[in-house]
Amino acid sequence: MIIQGDEPEQIRLLRKLYPKGNYFMQGDEAIAYGAIFAGCRFYAGYPITPASEIAETMAKELPKVKGYYIQMEDEIGSIAAIIGASWTGLKSMTATSGPGFSLMQENLGYAIMTETPIVVVDVQRSGPSTGQATKGAQGDFFQARWGTHGDHPIVAISPISVEDSFWETIRAFNISEKLRIPVILLADGIIGHTREQIRIPDPEEVEIVYRKLPKNEEEAKYPFGDVDGSLIPPMPLFGRGYFTHVTGSTHKETGLRDVYTPEVHIKLVNRLHKKIEKHEKEIEKWEEYFTDDMEILVVSWGVSARPSLGAVLKAREEGIKVGLFIPKTVHPFPGKKVKELAKKVRAIIVPEMNLGQLILEVQRYVNDDVILKGVNKIGGVPLTVEEILREIRGV
């Protein structure tokens, strides 16, 4: 089992297997390697296009680093298995696409309620339903946010390139471990299947975060209690003799179920929200280009961010004062930053591969006097620089 303390052996293995340098690979593969560098040693999944290469890479690579791969009978079983494995101390991940992500939603809620660190990758494809199964899209923005039921916080990260997929997967694991929450990597089929050059670092260049464990028996008695004021309870792992009880039902700080006392539910669910709010600054991440003197702002995410940057660069050549904002953490949405930027501009353009999802989130932070316009494209073909540039010129 690979837990904290095994680093020297792991660094030796990683150096030997994946010497630092330039590699040519797909986004899906970069996600798998990112997970391995982050310390992921348990993967359970079910094949689905365009996420299958993540499973295939994990099946091939995990045994080399003493990690476990298991192909489950369905997506529901896959997320269930990684939650179970996480309670034994293994950093765990599953990957799927839209339909499989839908099946995982109930247990995603379970992971939120039980504060189980896991990483769930959704390599978005075109929908609804089977849609264009082999084509990329960005239609799961809100499924990631509100797919499971009840009031809950969520963290979702969206990479913009193959190399970014490697690093953002590591960041997803680190946030998940630090805050004891499931983190969603909202990737997409286009980057997932695109091959690019990426630089694999030396393992010592990679910052690895491990979940907090109870310091003593006393702390272990409160697997869901705010024992140190951080709002993040230490996680008493199974098999350590703590007799921990874990349930998806509303529970007291001891873990025992109590669905009858309103205060217990209110306190628990509010703490789940507050621990994310408190650490929002560490979770939020974005890229900004030319926002100092801009009159127009482009806000774009994931696969649409690069043609957006291309369009912004071309518009700048034409003398149009346009800036670009790319949220890398899409949930919680960096609304305060967008609000601040929105005050400087007369128009905001939101390119994305759907009929308008991120734009609704942006809209919440923009005054009515700002022109807000989406550049939306569905059908499985990515946005082009020209399509976005046309909109920039038009506003």
Binding site: K66, Y68, D74, Y110, F243
Partner: protein, 287 residues
């Protein structure tokens, strides 16, 4: 075996006292199953620290989670075995036990049940079959006998019940047995054997639900249901020479299979060692 009469429940030391009293109805077979499980653990001298008990949703899911004092994982409806699969891979040296009901494990969770048996992962499943969805109010289950009345088959059940033990045995489990709550001592022995088998093991326990099943099927008293079990139980050795028609409505009890097959977590760890050897990843070349 000498039968002891207790004045105090000796097995209480295995229970999570702060979770008591149980939520089970008077006359429920769940208490018998919990008792049998605690006795099996006690007789095998298993340290509860070496046990992880996983369950799904419903009355039977409560039997050991939260009541049994071990690490307990109370999961979503039907998914206990899938959660347990992850736990077992992470803790291959611990005993991972799933205790849940027929609706949970064979209805919504039927797919996980047969695939865990096929995979032959070393998990012990105690499946409490009371023919009904008890906690949700007595609806028809995949195990409800043909013709029986439930809240969703108010006229009669027109579906045929699933023969769980046979299906799981066929799917590839290492050990499968079936008893009723009227066969407590045999049940304890089977749970002990299941806990010791390397591989997937299933003990199906036919159990009484006087409140939701018995009441609607002319067996209001728990004792009436136990008498029904005893009257209709056929040992598997005898059942082999009986026709399908003769076995209709009977409970075949005993051991269905007890065999050795390669076990999943062991194979998984062997594979890791083979891969390390193949790629020359051992410690010897650390420098």
């Amino acid at each position: 075996m000498a039968k002891e009469i207790y004045t105090k429940y000796k097995m209480a030391r295995y229970l999570r006292k702060e979770a008591l009293p149980t939520a089970l109805c008077p006359g429920c077979g769940g208490g018998t199953v919990l008792n049998a499980f605690a006795n099996a653990v006690d007789q095998l001298k298993i340290d509860p620290r070496d046990l992880v008990v996983v369950s799904g949703i419903g009355c039977s899911a409560w039997i050991a989670s939260p009541y049994f004092l071990a690490d307990t994982l109370h999961t979503t409806h039907g998914r206990a075995i899938a959660f347990a699969t992850g736990v077992k891979v992470g803790l291959p040296d611990k005993k991972v036990v799933v205790i849940s009901g027929d609706g949970d494990l064979a209805g919504i969770g039927g797919n996980h049940l047969i695939h865990a048996a096929r995979r032959n992962i070393d998990i012990t499943v105690i499946l409490v079959n009371n023919f009904i969805y008890g906690m949700t109010g007595g609806q028809v289950a995949p195990t409800t006998p043909f013709g029986a009345k439930t809240t969703t088959t108010p006229y009669r059940n027109i579906e045929h019940p699933l023969n769980i033990a046979e299906v799981v045995a066929e799917a590839g489990a290492s050990y499968v047995a079936r008893w009723t709550t009227a066969h407590v001592y045999q049940l304890i022995e089977s749970i002990k054997r299941a806990l010791q088998v390397k591989g997937f093991s299933l003990v199906e326990v036919i159990s009484q639900c006087p409140v939701q099943y018995g009441r609607r099927n002319k067996m209001k008293e728990p004792a009436e249901m136990l008498r029904w079990f005893l009257k209709n139980s056929i040992p598997i050795s005898k059942a082999k020479s009986m026709s399908k028609e003769e076995l209709e409505g009977k409970f075949v009890i005993g051991e269905f299979v007890n065999r050795q097959r390669p076990e999943f977590t062991e194979e998984l760890n062997n594979l890791i060692e083979e891969v390390a050897e193949h790629f020359g990843l051992g410690d010897e070349d650390a420098d």
